[in-house]
Symmetry: D2
Subunit: 303 residues, 4 copies
């Protein structure tokens, strides 16, 4: 398949929606980005990379980091991890506390904020350095040694992090927090601040297209675990719009409020699209549109 | 692939869990079934059918009917259908009213009872005979002209149907019911009462493996609509266990409290498994186990 | 105290708010009333009656009927009644189903619709004729043999009663309904349709000011039960505005969507005010204002 | 009325329930108290004080402090206070976050923890020293200059305060916190740690029986404000058991998890009872029973 031609066609198709949606404003550092930016990259399991637009421009990966911390914790902890976090879609916004109370401090899944805090807590215990482990992994998988945290973003997250502090203390009140709350929060904020390009991320999620195999041929996850992470992405990866995303795009995917979305076509490729204008549920408007067009044009979908 | 050998191996593997779980008791007519019954069938897109155990024994399809009424309504109504029902996982039990109140009478998805009542209401308006349209479709797709309603089950559903009556009147109070409530309920109860075997159902869901094409080669759904129905099955098909099912099985599937589960491997085959013992969330214990084994043994999964 | 003079002063004070709020429109028959109507009456425990404005004009008592059915059921059933309905404020609108689901079909209190349906069901069982028992009681207490149902209102309630039907079937699904749902609903709709004037109602609630003693000197409730009914009125009598009402008025009270409110000053008098314009929570704007003024002017309050 | 004789009779009556219930264990310092302790005191508006049992023994006042911080903030802030906190019963446990999310960070009332944190925040802004202002007020009203904080309790509250931290950060995320979260929490924890006897507290709530007048004859609250505080106590003073408390006791009251309950008979006296065994909703078993007996024996009730 001529991926470069397909991406070019996608780019044409999404132009009308560029600039639609609203840039995330919950932290000032994110609010400054131009909503009309757009980039998309595709990295095949064979190692070829294609891209359009701002595909080499680093952006704040935000919640996309949650896929990688999940994979890293799962690879070390195995099924024991699921005692502390569920794997069901939440049906609620990403930062809701309601369900957490009804379910006694066990977050619904690893991709809502509460769940990602539990994963960070676990990874911190398992490695002693959650954020460092994540950064090193992403540098290795993307082949880009310059992948790094953005300290301005991290500081802004911390300054405006009352909701995440509330979530962490709330889970601690149920006994579902092993490390000290401030330590977990700091690692979490730094992880969200990582700056990566579409090219970096398309390559970095390649292990999920390769059924658990890393870029260097070693294995991070078993075949079964890779399937599980993809399944959780499909059912929980786009907040309370997971059903809509599965319906339109039909691929496991994970979005972030920085405007990025990664998606996986098992056995074939990793994808990443970036455009900062978000819809009401926190997903990139042009990003979802681009993935919708891509799957329609190529007929590639898991369904 | 030697499907018959795989099915035999699955059968061996599930023997230890046969009889586990509890038979549905919410209507007396269902409670009488032996929980140790087990059958499984596979129907390829090429038309071959394989089966084990009680695969030719008819059972009450219950909520599995919701997949077919959705497809029938969608084929006639197109995207207009989604104005009256959502497509997000509910995160709540199948008969909850809570979310319906928060969301002003619009059910979360077509596979919770409230959503299926809306679909039945719509199909009734579109065809004048919702249950008859469904029966005729299932006879045609399964190639079994004996597929029929079970009047004892239907009467039992009606007698113990207070919760479904509550759901229908509740939606009517929000203006989301076109026909009279008793008429919609009657069609709904009859639809749930249909008796079919694993062989019948594996064949009947073939159109979802064939991207929308019916058994006779005509088209029920567009390729895009077929993908959409599969996506809704994956994210919403097993009540509040959809995440767990996607995680373990990794296929679009739909369960019923009669103990049946259908699943689809796009481009390849339809599957149906039946065993009446249910877990706490209303899904067949041995049925989920069998599909888990099947996908593990064959490596077939959408992820 | 010169009650007539106080009432006159109250009337002057509320003139600016007459016509504010919105007349109930959930049934057409109520929507036709002029929102500027206003009446108020006071009946002392000694038997004197005072009134202003439209105090002799009958209006639809609606939910005010719930106080009397509660008292009638309690007088026959005693504490056994509380096994089927709670006595806590709901914190939710009067017709919510959410709490009912979390609390397994036991309504929070007798003054939300679900609770009143349970009381009606119980009174029907205890007397064989719930609505007739209510009407006869109200005729006796008000001394007005013309108190009667309004069949147009009752029919309109039935026609637009989907929400109440949903509540009743929902409780039936939890086993909290003894009689057939349609029978309970019919009695409930008729009870709400009773037409009475401020004078009638101020007298009819006199037994609550007289610690349980009826107009003819006989006893309906024990002193303790009368205190209990007053307590439930204070904490639950004005839907999700009970706190605000206690704060402003400081009397046990019960409102109806017909625009009426009754209030009790133990040992002293019964009060009734009527004005059809409702606030967002279903309480008469001018009615609450009048009672606020009355308690401020007289210094009469239970606090 | 011979209050001393009544109290003696109450004491006899409650002996069978002494030791019932469970001592609060959420902080270790509270768990060490003997559950069979019991004391009760009554202070008339004329200045007489009566007591039985351990009525001079100091205990941890915990949430009873919320009545006084509310009164102190209201006296300085007036109605402006109600922009930041509601006055409706919550229908939920005292430390729930659910409602807070649905209502956008505005707590239901000043007597659930979230509401008390807002009041503390406000009082801190108004006085510069919330806890000091509270302590000085309680010393003056009780006439006991030894009333003081218990630093062991305060430290224990802080150590086990994850839930309260979660509440405060959650409200801060909605912009409903003026001071820094740690500062507000510290004052809150110290306020809860105050140790007072039944005698102290019965006297200290005298201003609510005297319609706002302090022990020294000066005025803390207007007559109307005193009525309002009493009303909020009645509808919200005993968590999700406010309806039950009003039903059984029929007085404005406020409980604490230390086992104390204060109650007010307007125009007549303040009451305080203490016994550490708590029921499932956090109210003293023997305390509620004693107040129930007291109002039954004396016929004193606001209803």
């Amino acid at each position: 398949m001529d991926y470069q031609a397909v991406l070019a066609e996608v780019w044409d198709a999404v132009r009308p929606v560029l600039g639609q949606g609203r840039v995330a404003t919950y932290i000032p550092a994110l609010a400054a980005v131009d909503p009309r930016r757009f980039g998309m990259a595709l990295a095949t399991v064979e190692g070829d990379v294609y891209g359009i637009g701002d595909w080499r421009e680093p952006f704040s990966i935000q919640s996309i980091s949650k896929v990688f911390t999940l994979a890293l914790a799962l690879s070390r902890d195995g099924d024991a991890l699921w005692r502390r976090v569920g794997k069901e879609p939440s049906g609620n916004p990403f930062n809701s506390l309601v369900q957490l109370e009804y379910e006694q401090g066990i977050p619904r899944n690893p991709f809502i904020n509460a769940g990602a805090l539990v994963i960070t807590d676990r990874l911190q215990r398992l490695t002693g350095d959650s954020r460092g482990t994540l950064r090193d992994f992403l540098r290795a998988e993307s082949g880009n040694p310059l992948v790094d945290f953005d300290p301005v973003i991290a500081a802004s997250e911390a300054e405006h992090g009352h909701r995440n502090r509330a979530l962490a203390h709330f889970m601690a009140s149920y006994g579902n927090m092993e490390s000290a709350v401030p330590e977990v929060l700091e690692h979490y904020f730094w992880q969200c601040s990582l700056a990566m390009s579409c090219a970096d991320l398309a390559k970095a999620c390649g292990f999920l297209a390769r059924h658990g195999q890393r870029a260097d041929g070693s294995r991070l996850l078993t075949r079964s675990q890779a399937k599980q992470v993809n399944a959780v992405m499909l059912t929980c990866g786009t907040y309370d719009a997971a059903g809509e995303f599965a319906y339109r795009v039909g691929l496991p995917g994970k979005s972030g409020v920085g405007g990025g979305i990664i998606a996986v076509i098992p056995n074939r490729c990793g994808l990443c699209v970036w455009s900062p204008g978000l819809d009401a549920r926190g997903n990139s408007v042009a990003g979802v549109e681009a993935l919708d067009r891509f799957t329609t044009l190529t007929g590639l979908s898991i369904f």
